[in-house]
């Protein structure tokens, strides 16, 4: 069939040959075939660089390897089971547990899962609001806008190590000028601030908001800028106030973009590691990724299992977000 088409004289085109034939073949594909064809680069890239290693890692999570590497045992899902029964907590830094062992504050804050969720909710919520605010400001026309834009994006351009360093030094016990101010307000602990789970989590959330609001702002701004301006004309004539224009035109039209932004920020937030490591430590603010990294060198199986469980938890949260955003988010 395709041979048929190619052998026909290319009546219109000036060139001929395999390229034309290929292009024609391409254009004649059904939507589905075409879709899958265009996705091949994605599949190939993800296959090599993501799927293959993930399978390997999953394989790893099914084994127990003794520290001297001499004893490699297939244990099936034991690593996973042990994670949930608390058996693996001893491999986790400090007093960290995977699941909370009790419902009081101390136990909850020792749990990597709880900390991760707290961090994700706190940071994503505020980042979305602030990012939206920033985007709305940047969307306006005013003198010097490009500089304000650049300024607002700067935090996103600062590497995490440096971001961590900045906040670490802000709360450092020698020179941190922020500790007394915030301690007076009762927000953070006055001493040993960065080793206090609540304070450190708060600071890390703030640091993350500082940096990643720009991510949100940038994305939402792009969404804002893609809105057909004539819709605002219509709305204005229809009598919409600024707020109503936002409510009825802007918001619904940038919702898909916000959706993507929230989705990815949530995913990133639930994988938080770097900023914790540089501002405080995984012992103090135990996130799930922290747990993966800290077991990484010694307990590969456990590490792999935690990685997969982390992914599964994120998956659950993401499904939640998608359902909450409505079917057409995807």
């Amino acid at each position: 069939m395709s041979a048929d088409t190619t052998s026909k004289p290319a009546r219109e085109s000036r060139q001929s040959g395999p390229v034309v034939g290929f292009l024609r073949w391409l254009e004649n594909l059904s939507d589905t075939q075409y879709a899958y064809l265009l996705l091949t680069p994605v599949f190939v890239l993800l296959g090599i660089v993501a799927i293959y290693p993930l399978l390997r890692t999953f394989e790893l999570s099914l084994y127990a390897v003794s520290t001297d590497l001499s004893n490699v045992r297939f244990v099936g899902l034991d690593n996973y089971v042990a994670l949930f029964t608390g058996e693996k907590n001893r491999f986790l830094p400090g007093g960290t547990t995977f699941l909370p062992t009790g419902l009081d504050a101390a136990n909850l804050l020792d749990s990597a899962l709880v900390i991760t969720l707290v961090f994700a909710v706190g940071s994503v919520l505020f980042e979305t609001l602030i990012g939206l605010g920033q985007a709305l400001v940047l969307d306006q026309d005013f003198y010097g806008r490009r500089w304000v834009r650049a300024a607002i994006i700067i935090p996103w351009a600062v590497p995490i190590v440096i971001q961590g360093m900045m906040f670490f030094l802000m709360f450092d016990s020698n020179v941190g000028f922020a500790t007394p101010i915030l301690a007076d307000l009762g927000v953070v602990a006055p001493t040993n601030t960065l080793n206090d789970t609540v304070s450190a989590t708060f600071i890390i959330i703030v640091a993350d908001i500082w940096k990643t609001s720009a991510f949100m702002a940038l994305l939402i701004l792009a969404g804002l800028q893609s809105i057909n301006r004539s819709l605002y004309d219509v709305a204005r004539v229809a009598g919409a106030s600024k707020w109503q224009q936002f409510r009825y035109i802007t918001l619904p039209l940038i919702l898909p973009t916000i959706g993507v932004a929230v989705l990815f920020r949530s995913v990133q937030a639930m994988r938080v590691y770097g900023i914790i490591d540089t501002v405080s430590s995984c012992t103090v603010v135990p996130s799930l990724s922290c747990m993966v990294v800290s077991t990484f060198n010694t307990h590969e199986g456990t590490s792999a299992a935690i990685a997969f469980v982390t992914a599964a938890i994120i998956g659950v949260v993401v499904m939640g977000i998608i359902l909450w955003q409505g079917e057409d988010a995807i």
């Binding site: 004309d233 229809a238 109503q244």
Partner: protein, 392 residues
Amino acid sequence: MARVRLEHVSKHYDDVTAVDDMNLDIDHGEFICFVGPSGCGKSTTMESIAGLTKPSEGEIHIGDREVTNLPPKDRGVAMVFQNIALFPHMDVYDNISFGLRLRNYDKEEIERRVERAAEIVQLEGMLDRMPDEMSGGQRQRVAIARAIVREPDVFLMDEPLANLDAKLKVHMRTELQRLHKELDTTIIYVTHDQEEAMTLSDRIAVLDSGRLQQIDPPLVCYNEPANLFVAGFIGSPSMNFAEATVTEDSLSTAYFSLAFDPASVEAVDVGDEVTVGIRPEDIYPGRMRVEVEDPSSLISTRVDILEPMGDEIFAYMLLGERRTSMDQSRADDQLLMSVDPDSTIREDTDAEVVIDRGNVHLFETASGEALAHGLSPVSADLETETTADADN
């Protein structure tokens, strides 16, 4: 109440003057049509009235308020946009009810109004469609419905019927007229359809290059165009023009001359260069001479092209020697006439025609200003009735 006044309104873009010193005074309850060639500034004027475009100069008043700096929402206008601009994320119902929801009308009222509007624009079964699932005409109707549910003081409609078929157009026109009466609103309306402009409007505003050329009731514009531009623009097919020189007793064009007494028109002297304008329907086949009220002498022509339109036939008649038409508009040696479809006229035959002198228009060639509408009768025949009519 909703009188709309524009005072010396201009709008300049970088290198274009879209509206140029526009003065308009539209009464409460008037139905005004803006007509004019593409790009003459109709939409821009509408947008200034709506508050979407800030005029570079001038003031705009709606009712007894100066609104030049007021935001659109406080002007009490509803608008049908030339580019339709439906909200892509809302279904038809939501699109139509948008303005009402903004004003917190109660649900039943909204529903009632939307249903009524949908009925008017004949979109009853489609309230839950999304804009991208509709045809061009259907979208345009949604845009109309969106404006009419609002029942504002002033309606601005920018070519609202452009994409509708003839029957629907007629229907919509009737509905608009009814609405106009019912709601007692001011309507400003842009159309390229002269029939529409004629049937709908109280007055027609003719624009060209951003300038107002004439604002008058439709028949006045038709029968007594203020200048060459209006004369040529209003009426389809367009008026025939011929350069003429005023002689002692006639207007003499390159191919024919009309009996004329220069003294009868004050501004005309012998030797002046004038332009004669004759509408296609004021040219008759020679055999009908007796029926014409103030006929000119017979002019011999050749039938070049016939365009049968169903209810009439457009005949392009060549004057003089040229035997084939090149450009149909404003070629000096050509006359377009409209003949009855039952007529036996044939292409490429010679034919004599006669012009109704009573409906001949005279313009100063240089300035384009109208000098006279209807030449005074040479014979002692009756005054032509139509001209007299239009004068009232």
